[in-house]
């Protein structure tokens, strides 16, 4: 492997934001997630839980609830607005004011024709879902308290609303409130506080399940309006409920960080009469669980500890397989760090500002944004002379001079450069590439002091998905792009046209890079597969075929975080350097590939062996787990390694207050 001088960087104070709401689309197998800063993320559950898309947040958006209607995604928040999102261009499509004050909940009927929102002023507002927009239809009977949660009956004729101290059932057609279900307050000190029905579910057999701030999960008969059962699951609040599609299983999320499962089963085997019985309790969070989703095979939870947890249910998947493993998503599946190799500079991307650091110094330079919109993407040129970033609505380019002490904004930008999903500078810092709408890439020439529009590169496939990966080759000849349709296109920059398209692989690419001397494109995908494609020959390389034939080692394929960065070693052309959150790996293409039975993580054992033995036992994948959690691993021009870490403990120690649990002997 050789020795590297390592710059160990731990001053990237990245803090993920709390998860506020989530919604699972079972048809497309996509999970939409809303965070406290208004950011929206889409995870592809069919592609190894890859975080496909991120729509940056906005100050004041305060999303409280999400709702899928077919392929369309809607959110509602405390700013009183309903927003529909454009998932192809990664931005809000439009917003509609509900004029009911802050909105607490949003839900659509199963037919997908009406959208109901619960407002602070006590109204449930109905909106018609039209093709390109939504239109206000009417209000249901106004109530005296705020509407905190809503649930449609699957038939679309009734709506159950969770409020303060009570639940109301509405007739969706007449708008009249037909039943009032009184929810009991807590005991002792909580008796003086109103009980909040945080979450509610209306089942097809007219059973209503509610979760409230007194820690109860209550089962009601929605026809008679009577209480059937009460189950106290926690001393704190039950914040979220989610039911499976077949209505056989229900989960409740609490402030303690536990997720309690109820199943509709008969308490005695063989008997016909079923009831809701509390079965499992999962404790996968340290803080409040505010959002839940119940897929066919798993329970997905998220909350104040910012981690997304997928807990497969062992009665739905095979035990002890890759499928049944617990998954935790902590750090983003994309790089927030840009390294200027020649200048030894690091650019850290935060939602509302950027930080520029020089390696070896302890003082950083910060660029503060006073904008409502958060940053989508940012980039630093390798020479350290240019800095660019984009939000959903705007694009900014800066010139860095005098050893980066002065930052000058470039005022005249080409009109076509409105906003970008991904940015990349050419290695000689003469061009900037910005991914634009529908998989196209805008090429801009950087001449001091301004920049000029050159060309727009478009793929032939006509894909409408955004480009999320860009890589410009060292010799300035090639530009590789990857989009969320799993397409990888390579453009010839001398001729400014499409050179070739890599055969589409079923999993989304998570990192791409072009080798500086061989011009081989290396692509790593969400399912951990690695491919090497020769741009000159326009076919997979010999090594890649060999790797595919042998297959990757099972321990490599079982890793649960994606590779977010691929780099090469100028001193050794056979090396490929890649990293995920928990390890970085140097693949030595000159060494044999590991076989299935070979111990995979063998670096420590190799070190203890004498030299001749070491050569026999070495295999191509050299893995180092000394640094965690990795946000970036890059190689500088002086052959030193930069490792940017964000230890999980640093994140955890800055989280908000969890509940105080009295444990014996503490």
């Amino acid at each position: 492997m050789g020795e590297f001088k390592v710059h160990r960087v731990r001053f990237f104070d990245y803090m993920p934001t709390a998860i506020r709401a989530m919604a699972f689309n079972s048809r497309t197998e996509r999970l939409a997630l809303a965070r406290a800063d208004g950011a929206l993320e889409i995870f592809n559950f069919a592609d190894n839980y890859f975080q496909e898309k991120v729509i940056p947040g906005q100050d004041g958006r305060a999303v409280e609830a999400l709702c899928w209607v077919g392929q369309r995604l809607f959110s509602a928040g405390l700013n009183g607005e309903i927003t529909e999102y454009d998932l192809e261009n990664l931005r809000p499509r439009y917003t509609v004011e509900a004029y009911g004050g802050p909105i607490w909940t949003i839900s659509s009927n199963s037919q997908g024709t009406l959208l109901a929102v619960g407002c602070e002023d006590g109204t449930v507002k109905m909106f018609e879902i039209l093709e390109e927009r939504i239109q206000f239809q009417r209000n249901l009977d106004r109530q005296k308290g705020r509407i905190i949660s809503l649930s449609w009956h699957p038939s679309g004729t009734l709506i159950a609303a969770g409020m303060m101290d009570m639940i109301r059932i509405f007739d969706a057609e007449t708008g009249r409130a037909t039943h009032r279900l009184l929810v009991e307050r807590g005991v002792g000190a909580s008796k003086s506080k109103e009980v909040v029905v945080w979450s509610i579910v209306f089942l097809s057999d007219h059973t209503i399940v509610s979760g409230d701030s007194a820690g109860k999960v209550q089962i009601w008969d929605g026809v008679t309006g009577t209480l059937v059962r009460t189950q106290l699951v926690t001393k704190w609040d039950v914040l979220a409920l989610s039911v499976s599609n077949d209505e056989s299983s229900l989960v409740a999320g609490t402030s303690e960080g536990t997720v309690v499962q109820f199943q509709f089963i008969s308490s005695t085997v063989g008997q016909q009469d079923k009831e809701w019985v509390r079965t499992r309790t999962f404790k996968n969070h340290s803080h409040d669980v505010r959002a839940l989703a119940h897929t066919e095979t798993a329970v997905v939870s998220g909350g104040m500890d910012t981690q997304l947890v997928v807990r497969p249910l062992l009665d739905k998947v095979e035990k002890n397989t890759q499928e049944s493993a617990l998954r935790k998503m902590t750090l983003p599946h994309r790089s927030l760090v840009c390294c200027a190799k020649k200048a030894g500079l690091l650019l850290f991307q935060f939602p509302d500002h950027l930080e520029l650091w020089r390696l070896g110094e302890s003082d950083g330079h910060g660029e503060v944004l006073k904008q409502k919109d958060h940053i989508c993407c940012s980039a630093l040129s390798p020479c350290g002379g240019w800095l660019a970033y984009s939000t959903v609505t705007s694009f900014r380019l800066y010139r860095l001079q005098n050893n980066n002490i002065s930052i000058t904004k470039v005022s005249k930008l080409p009109k076509d450069l409105r906003s970008a999903h991904q940015l990349c500078f050419s290695p000689d810092s003469s061009k900037l590439f910005a991914s634009s709408s529908h998989s196209s890439v805008i090429v801009v020439a950087l001449n001091q002091p301004e920049c000029k529009y050159l060309h727009t590169l478009k793929p032939k496939s006509g894909s409408r998905q955004p480009v999320h990966l860009l890589f410009a080759s060292e010799d300035g000849k090639w530009l590789a792009t990857a989009n969320t349709d799993c397409e990888i296109h390579v453009y010839n920059l001398d001729k400014l046209k499409l050179h070739c398209t890599v055969p589409v692989y079923s999993s989304c690419p998570t990192a791409i890079a072009i080798h500086p001397t061989t011009s081989n494109l290396v692509a790593v995908h969400a399912d951990q597969q690695i491919f090497e494609f020769s741009l000159v020959q326009k076919e997979y390389t010999e090594w890649s075929r060999k790797l595919q034939k042998q297959g990757l080692h099972s321990l490599w394929l079982e890793r649960d975080t994606p590779i977010t960065h691929v780099a090469f070693n100028p001193q050794n052309p056979a090396h490929i350097i890649l990293h995920d959150t928990f390890m970085f790996c140097i693949i030595d293409q000159s060494l044999p590939l590991p076989e299935a039975k070979t111990p995979f993580y063998n670096q420590m054992t190799l070190r203890s062996l004498p030299e001749p033995q070491r050569i026999i036992h070495s295999h191509a994948f050299k893995i180092c787990k000394n640094f965690q959690h990795l946000m970036c691993v890059s190689l500088l021009e002086d052959h030193s390694l930069v490792v940017v870490e964000r230890p999980l403990l640093n994140i955890m120690s800055q989280l908000p207050a969890p509940v105080r649990q009295k444990k014996f002997a503490t």
Partner: protein
């Protein structure tokens, strides 16, 4: 048998004629000087003692609440002042032309990260409602009676009960995070 005394403990809400009766009664008592000392029944004295104790507790509780209220108001005032102090700077930077001039000559030191709520006059009332809703959430989740601890304590507990015991996670290197540490020691 000693007569039941009413005397001092008679409440002011009693009607006028009863007061007259009492006055008349006490006048009668004063006239006989060398009578036996006043005998107070057991119930009366017990009631008196309980009443005075309750009063003392009530006053103590009221005082505590008043102090709490004062402290809370002062905290709110400080926050308000802080917001007001930062807000003018924010409004200035919104204006595009001024922003350009500012960024012409941006120098080195890492400026404070200001996270400010975005507000314009027309959205004042809407943002006020939003703030009220957020306050409601905040008070339900983190307000009084929510029984919370700090992340640092949680990590300390995990450390204490875990198999490998190691150093505390936070030694308060960051002054801003010092409030989170129950033991505010600076190493």
């Amino acid at each position: 048998m000693a007569k039941k005394q009413r005397g001092k403990s008679a409440s002011s809400s009693k009607t006028a004629d009863i007061k007259q009766q009492t006055d008349h009664f006490s006048l009668m008592l004063e006239s006989s000087d060398d009578e036996a000392p006043e005998e107070v029944t057991f119930e009366d004295s017990k009631a008196e003692a309980l009443r005075s104790m309750k009063q003392a507790l009530d006053t103590a509780r009221r005082e505590k609440e008043q102090l709490k209220e004062k402290r809370r108001k002062r905290q709110e005032l400080f926050q308000e002042q802080k917001k007001r102090k930062l807000l003018p700077a924010d409004v200035l930077e919104e204006i595009d032309s001024k922003e350009e001039k500012e960024e012409e000559r941006q120098t080195g030191t890492c400026p404070e990260v200001c996270k400010l709520p975005f507000s314009t006059p027309e959205r004042e009332s809407a943002s006020f409602q939003q703030q009220a809703a957020e306050d409601f959430l905040q008070s339900r989740m983190y307000g009084p009676g929510s029984c919370r601890t700090t992340s640092n304590e949680l990590l300390s507990l995990q450390n204490k009960t875990g198999r490998n015991k190691s150093a505390a996670v936070q030694f308060c290197f960051n002054p801003e995070h010092c409030e989170l540490c129950p033991n505010n020691t600076r190493t």
